[in-house]
Symmetry: C2
Subunit: 453 residues, 2 copies
């Protein structure tokens, strides 16, 4: 038992400062969600495996954390499966629950299960941890938070505009400079249709996506290597060479895609969203980017991705429109649009740039030193009054050496220390020390509040 | 896939209203923790089983949710154990992690792991869910929240006083009438010592605990049945017949226990705590109760339990002093005192008594109806301004029939609805409807804020 305890790899403890910083991020996001009319739901950490399996692809199934059934779980497992030592087959017999892998599948499950109580459009937000048995590495954890906002049951593009405003609100409040990248799945389909390679949409978008890194020539080589005919690649060139501002890009796209009904629809939608978002004013840069191809198997309309401008890190927020959230649970045709803030990456960004307001790290406002029982009681009377006014304060619990008490004051970063010794008790005053300037004042206890403002 | 999805038994979904209500409770508790100078930490949902096992007794080990190892977990499991179909033995080979069972053991593990960074006294709070594979029943769930505050590294009884004040603060703010029951483990030891039954402390306290329910005579019968000699039972009678207010009970105890050093110390401690807590004034009733015996194997000083006065439910908060939090992780001698708010039971109490403030159920302040694209854009301009002022508001996304939009307004309980139709757009005004009174006003958009205050 004397071995030093540890935590599972890929998981983290958060101490007081870290938790305060993370809560600042969660609170900022939650406040914005509420301001925009999204309402909170919460779902259990554990879901039935029948709910989770098959929703994230074969690779995703392997990354689920499975809960071992309670009790004598082997009792009803077939002997031949046990004897075969086939882990995969046996896990189906000894495990019925898993930890949630994201917030989207639990949300879909929630909507279907509560469909009689839900009025559409339904705007929900959810801020909870998720778990993935991924190989841990820098910036990738086995337990991390997602902060999702979705509106389902409305096809209006105002929802898209509002979600972009929500992103804008959050990063403005966090003071993080970001670019919001926008695309529309219909534009990608239009491109593939136009060059006669409908089936190759994934290969094409994967290659296009690399243009910033490897350049136009190498992208064309890769497409050729993947078997896209030269004639098709030539037709792709105008897409790859889009330039100018958003409106110029959209005009160019509109011309190029005029013969694809789906592609034209995509351009039109994107244009509407960009123009209305622009009219309302914003803090974040907006960037139409036809190489953006996240969630290709899932999104059917707008695709959104947010990148930090001042830190090298992957996408810190993303989302898009989907048209079949709940089909897999037997409730087809429910469309919606949503975004997910990657709180753990946003935390990394804020840490890198040290963007926390001063107040986030402050644990307590006033620490009262302890000079003995009578003095402590007098202090506690004042502590009680300060707390009533919402000013966090505490008494150092033990009447020990001053040096030790002051070192505690430093460690908790208390901005003010109050001392009530025998003399002060007799005189009916207190000594208030400003820990930042080092100054000390003799004040009456009722004046403490005035001085610490 | 057409089967209706469900969630694991003993777990719960929380919809918007329920989540808002629960957040009201968590926020109230968190605010009090901060006001009192406790700082937040968070630990992972999963802990290594070596950390969890053996800390909650044999029964507790069985109630741990275990995580199946990832990948081919059977590969290295010994054949003989697999073939034996011994679930317990096999789980030690195929599972290394479990879900946390409470917040105390993870806290102890955290303190040991971070001991070089922690300055004592360390006041931490932690609000996180825990999981237990208990048989689900009314008021008992497999996933529920604990809200813990502890101070470790200080023996001062001011900590006890402060924790009582913290309890007082929380239930005053929640407007729940409660009684705080207090005992001291040393008093129980003193009683057992005095009647010469040191080893029978558990039997004695279990029986004493029933006095309210079954009466004095039946308690004595039960003690006799358990083999406590008649002479000892007679010595117990004065304890069982304590009456009067706290100070009278403590005086009586002081006399009865004068020959037990430990018992006397317990009475003295309790007296000090009660007197100082009384001097500072409080909302909750305080009740010295020698039958209180929670955490008998763990607590060494004060024992605290909180009962709701207006709802029949078990303890809704509890705690006490311990003198060896971290010994089991190789760091002996760290004492502390802590309390745990049972948020899920408090939630049940508030639901029974309908104690939520009006504002908790309110999802959004102002809903703008949608009369078409131009009108919607004008609405969104105002929505943006209201949000800047911190007033939650939204546009109904689709330009559909008024009836449908109004029914949405009702369902989300919006207190105000704003209508901007063609006429209003031309006149540069808006129609503001108070959904509570049914009144409608024509106002300028800049006056909305004034009217909804």
């Amino acid at each position: 038992m004397a071995t030093k305890p540890s935590i599972p790899k890929g998981t983290r403890d958060f101490g007081p400062l870290e938790t305060a910083r993370r809560n600042y991020i969660f609170d900022t996001i939650r406040k914005a969600f509420r301001l925009f009319g999204y309402t909170p739901i919460e779902t259990p950490a554990m879901e039935n495996l029948t709910t989770l399996m098959g929703k994230y692809g074969e690779e995703g199934d392997k990354l689920l954390f499975r809960i071992l059934n309670s009790g004598d779980y082997l009792k009803d497992a077939p002997d031949d499966i046990i004897m075969s030592k086939d882990s995969l087959a046996l896990s189906g017999k000894i495990s019925e629950k898993g930890l949630r892998y994201d917030l989207t599948v639990p949300f879909a499950r929630f909507v279907v299960q509560n469909k009689n109580d839900i009025q559409l459009p339904f705007k929900r937000f959810q801020i909870q941890p998720v778990w993935r048995a991924d190989r841990p590495q820098k910036g990738r954890y086995r337990e991390f938070y997602q902060c999702d906002a979705d509106v389902v049951g409305s096809d209006s593009l105002w929802n898209e505009v509002e979600l972009l405003q929500l992103i804008d609100e959050v990063f403005r409040n966090l003071k993080v400079r970001v670019a919001i990248k926008l695309n529309n799945r219909k534009i990608l389909s239009g491109i593939a249709e136009l060059i006669g390679e409908r089936e190759r949409i994934v290969d094409i978008t994967v290659a296009i996506d690399k243009i910033d890194k490897i350049g136009l020539e190498k992208v064309c080589e890769e497409l050729e290597f993947k078997g896209i005919p030269k004639a098709s690649i030539e037709k792709l060139l105008p897409f790859l060479q889009l330039s100018g501002d958003n409106s110029e890009k959209l005009d160019a796209l509109s011309k190029i895609l005029k013969d694809s009904e789906e592609g034209s629809k995509g351009v039109e939608e994107l244009k509407w969203v960009v123009e209305n978002f622009d009219s309302l004013g914003h803090y974040c840069g907006l960037d139409v980017d036809v190489s953006l191809a996240r969630g290709l198997n899932y999104y059917t309309g707008i695709i959104i991705e947010v990148k930090a401008l001042d830190v090298e890190i992957g996408s810190i927020t993303g989302g898009g429109r989907y048209d079949n959230l709940t089909g897999v649970f037997g409730m087809p045709g429910l469309s919606g649009v949503g975004i997910s803030f990657g709180a753990d990456r946003i935390y990394d960004v804020l840490n890198s740039l040290e963007l926390y307001p001063e107040s986030v790290t402050e644990s307590i406002k006033v620490l009262f030193l302890n000079f003995g029982e009578k003095e402590a009681m007098a202090s506690m009377q004042i502590v009680k009054e300060l707390r009533k006014k919402g000013i966090s304060s505490e008494l150092y619990p033990d009447s020990v050496k001053l040096k030790k008490q002051m070192s505690y004051a430093d460690s908790i970063k208390a901005p003010y220390v109050v001392m009530i010794g025998e003399t002060e008790l007799e005189e009916g005053i207190v000594v208030l020390k400003d820990m930042f300037s080092g100054e000390q004042f003799k004040v009456s206890s009722s004046d403490i509040e005035k001085h610490i403002k």
